[in-house]
Amino acid sequence: MKSPDTPTARLRELYSTFFKIGSVSFGGGYAMLPMLEKELSEKKGWVSEEELLDYYAIGQSTPGIIAINTATFVGYKTAGIKGAVAATMGMISPSLIIIILIASFLDYFNEEPLVQKALKGVNIAVAVLLLSSVWKFAGKTVKNIGGALLCAGAFVTVGFLGITPILVVVTAALLGTLAFFIQGRHKS
């Protein structure tokens, strides 16, 4: 384990480590876990693998993007609030740079008929990718009739009735809590 001499050096190291993770991990979320284990547990020894899994589990149950939540957590545990900020900034910097470059390039060529055709094709690939994500998530999250109803309810109310997703998120959390109390009463 390397231990930097000064707090500033540690912050710089947090930033650069998460910059590296952000620039080589595609897709975020679950795809990132092996990368985090290698960089943070094996190489730096900042957190144990068990701790990392804990942060990850918490990152999934708190608002925000899992990758960012985990980065914030590791940064905070390593160097306090400044560490949390340094790790998060490291994580988002590659996205900012890469997307700004690509978007500026695309905006320039957007009017070209050939680019238009390519983009139409690209949207078809997005349809495939999103459908497969939905299928995968459904397998993991829809485990009973209540879950199926919530999933279908969210789809219909947001997709066809124009309800805001925020309302659905809040209602679903409340319904889950309510079911917990009703089941609890049955048991006791």
Binding site: P63, G64, I68, T72, F73, I99, S104, S133, A138, A173
Partner: protein, 186 residues
């Protein structure tokens, strides 16, 4: 679009996104399309690019949307807005409620939330299917069945879908393949 309002809109999205980047998509879609920032088609180009480039997809989308709305300052504001709730909430959790996610009440709320989030992501999937594969909007305008069922779109969809199920390669491979197919066939 002011920088501050971009920050606040993305703060709100970050606050209600639970369970990873894709969960931000339906919220982002509802904000961006509701405000008339983009057409559905443009929105899904951004999704394709965000899935094909490094970094969390939610962050990539925020950067992209912010950039299109208000330039580089906008992309920074949107991204910072999206991560601010994480910073605040995680620091509080790390300091005071480390075991909060093991609490039965939190688990209960999540057990309701997770299937609903799947339903929300399904709305984004449905939306892109009706834009890119079976163009329902074009059909409604023209009333011609030829605008609804386009053999070449369906062909590309079937080819990409089949190869995705058969070989689970990185999304960028399918995005690139579909771009080439689009240039040749569409």
């Amino acid at each position: 679009m002011t920088i501050l309002s971009l920050y606040l809109i993305f703060f709100k999205i970050g606050l209600f996104t639970i369970g990873g980047g894709l969960a931000a998509l339906p919220l982002l879609q509802s904000e961006a399309l509701g405000r008339g920032w983009f057409s559905s088609s443009e929105f899904f180009h951004m999704v394709a690019i965000s899935e094909s480039t490094p970094g969390p997809i939610g962050i990539n989308m925020a950067t992209y949307v912010g950039l299109e709305q208000a330039g580089i300052a906008g992309s920074v504001a949107a991204t910072l807005g999206l991560v601010s709730p994480s910073l605040i909430i995680i620091v509080i959790v790390a300091r005071y409620f480390f075991h909060f996610n093991e609490k039965p009440l939190v688990q209960a709320a999540l057990s309701g939330l997770r299937p609903a989030v799947t339903g929300l992501i399904a709305t984004a999937a449905w939306n892109v299917v009706t834009v890119a594969v079976i163009p329902v909007v074009d059909f409604r305008q023209s009333g011609q069945i030829g605008d609804l069922l386009k053999p070449l779109n369906l062909l590309i969809f079937a080819l990409i879908g089949f190869s995705y199920l058969k070989w689970k390669l990185h999304p960028v491979v399918y995005v690139a393949a579909a771009a080439v197919a689009g240039m040749v066939l569409l």
